[in-house]
């Protein structure tokens, strides 16, 4: 309990600092929101092109996929609000040796490097994503009950966990590979898969990105709770929960190995 209080106090401080920083660069803050929204609406535009030529894809209608893309946006932006900037910075910390400061702090080092800065512009774009989800739910005439909404929330949080694990492992590559900063854009490539219905992916590719790097599950599982209300939520949620725990566990193992390498390189 004490540990929990300590961590939430530290986190409160991180939040306060981020708020002050964002508000002192207002123009930049607004430009980032504009950039994110531009990408998001670009994706919806592509969907418009696709659905000019068809009425369904993998059994999903246009508004069902809009709901899926909105869910993806919500998860991705929540992840980016909480962790993105910190993980982007990690290769630089490793290169310059500034990581040492973080290792000396009396809190968990993975927590410290992951959550020092919050991106408040992403909070705004996450809310836009959620609004798109609500809008497509209305378009589809869905009436989810409270239990479904709670499960949806849990699904989104688990999805954030998968995003975190993927990006964390990419960032940790910087302990082994020169200039890993550019590699981290691979995050966008990997998670882009979760914008489309799970069942369009087949073969080894589909298997790999469902079970090994579970990015396909991420938005699909929560979106399905809303779009197919008659299905049992248990199998999907169980898969996502297991996948998230495994992914987070893997990120922990990678961090340990990375610190061992860091320790031996600097001595």
């Amino acid at each position: 309990m004490n540990a929990l209080r300590k961590y939430s106090e530290v986190y409160g401080m991180f939040l306060r600092n981020s708020l002050i920083r964002d508000m002192s660069f207002k123009a930049n803050f607004l430009l980032w929101i504009a950039t994110e929204l531009l990408w998001f609406f670009g994706q919806l535009l592509f969907l418009e092109v696709i659905f000019y030529y068809t009425d369904e894809m993998g059994g999903w209608s246009k508004w069902q996929i809009v709901l899926l893309i909105g869910t993806h946006q919500t998860i991705a932006q929540t992840f980016q609000a909480l962790f993105y900037m910190n993980l982007m910075n990690l290769p630089e910390l490793v290169r310059t040796g500034k990581l040492d400061t973080f290792l000396l702090l009396p809190i968990d080092s993975q927590f410290a490097v992951s959550s020092r800065q919050l991106g408040l512009d992403n909070v705004v774009t996450a809310i836009v994503g959620l609004a798109i989800v609500a809008f497509s739910a209305v378009k589809l005439g869905l009436h989810p009950g409270p239990l479904t909404l709670i499960l949806y929330g849990v699904g989104v949080i688990l999805g954030v966990g998968v995003h975190y694990a993927v990006m964390f492992v990419l960032a940790s590559l910087s302990f082994w590979i020169v200039r890993a900063q550019g590699l981290m854009h691979g995050y966008y490539s990997l998670v882009s898969l979760s914008r489309y219905p799970e069942n369009i992916y087949r073969g080894l590719f589909g298997f790999f990105f469902t079970w090994v790097i579970p990015v396909i599950l991420v938005a699909n599982v929560p979106a399905r709770l809303l779009t197919w209300p008659l299905e049992s939520p248990v199998p999907g949620m169980a898969r996502l929960a297991v996948a998230t725990l495994l992914a987070l566990g893997a990120s922990r193992l990678v961090w340990r190995a990375a610190l061992r390498r860091y320790g031996s390189a600097s001595s």
Partner: protein, 267 residues
């Protein structure tokens, strides 16, 4: 002579990052593979009927050709490196040498592209081998390949000039990444990376024919795949040439303006 040595230097610099490039190109394949599944689902829903004159095989060929064109003609991190040189004052060292900095970058660009492609072509070869039965070879003769190659070189030049011009914004602004990303998002959707532009409405295509974006990627690939012939081809090549010249002039102008500011500040 000295510029030939620079070319060799560029090759050496780039080779250091071969692991980085290999991983990057694997990540780069993921969205294309995802897009192939999306189109596959779409053609499936249409019962195999073609989309705006593209059969499924032609669509896959388009997407794979786009990967190769991107590897050869799209700058990787050039804008960030140039911006960092300006921001961190490393430019001063260049100004003392008998080397013209923009020319220096212009020579580094193709050497970096060639080495990059020598690494990234292998994952693409793997993709081609897997997708072999779904690909159609370009039917145009040697002449078409030559025209496409010339157009690809011009495409690379346009992309390079845009990157360089964006990077020179660092003379005036501390933080240019939002501006660069906003430009990227237009580039991403309007250059044809996501889908061939000739599946869009005539009005869209008329506007797009005047903007620089389609000449950065789509145009050379469309030539290679035989989508353009006769008058539209000649007209397109003229507009592309015009954009190369405009790009070069803009870069020169921004550079000299920025440099005078840099020297005034550096005093």
């Amino acid at each position: 002579m000295k510029y030939r040595q620079l070319f060799a230097l560029g090759i050496q610099n780039t080779l250091v990052y071969r692991w980085n490039f290999l991983l990057r190109s694997f990540f780069g394949l993921v969205p294309t593979a995802g897009a192939i599944y999306v189109w596959n689902a779409l053609y499936h829903a249409r019962g195999g009927e073609s989309v705006a004159g593209y059969s499924y095989a032609q669509m896959v060929t388009y997407l794979v050709s786009m990967l190769v064109a991107e590897s050869l003609a799209t700058p990787v991190e050039d804008e960030w490196e140039i911006a960092a040189d300006i921001r961190e004052g490393r430019l001063s060292a260049f100004l003392l040498r008998p080397i013209d900095y923009p020319t220096y970058r212009l020579i580094l660009f193709p050497s970096a592209r060639l080495v990059y492609t020598a690494v990234t072509i292998w994952p693409i070869v793997l993709l081609v081998a897997i997708m072999w039965q779904d690909l159609v070879l370009p039917t145009g003769g040697l002449g078409m390949w030559c025209v496409a190659a010339v157009s690809l070189i011009m495409a690379g030049l346009i992309q390079f000039f845009i990157s360089f011009a964006l990077a020179t914004l660092a003379f005036w602004f501390l933080e240019i990444s939002t501006l660069v990303f906003i430009f990227f998002s237009f580039e991403y959707f309007l250059s044809g990376r996501l889908f061939p532009l000739d599946i869009m409405s005539p009005a869209f295509r008329e506007i797009s024919a005047l903007l620089p974006f389609q000449y950065e990627m789509y145009f050379p690939v469309a030539i290679l795949l035989g989508r353009l012939e006769g008058a539209p081809l000649v007209q397109g090549l003229c507009i592309q040439t015009a954009w190369v010249i405009v790009g070069w002039l803009t870069t020169r102008l921004m550079w000299s303006r920025g440099l005078s500011r840099y020297q005034a500040v550096g005093g």
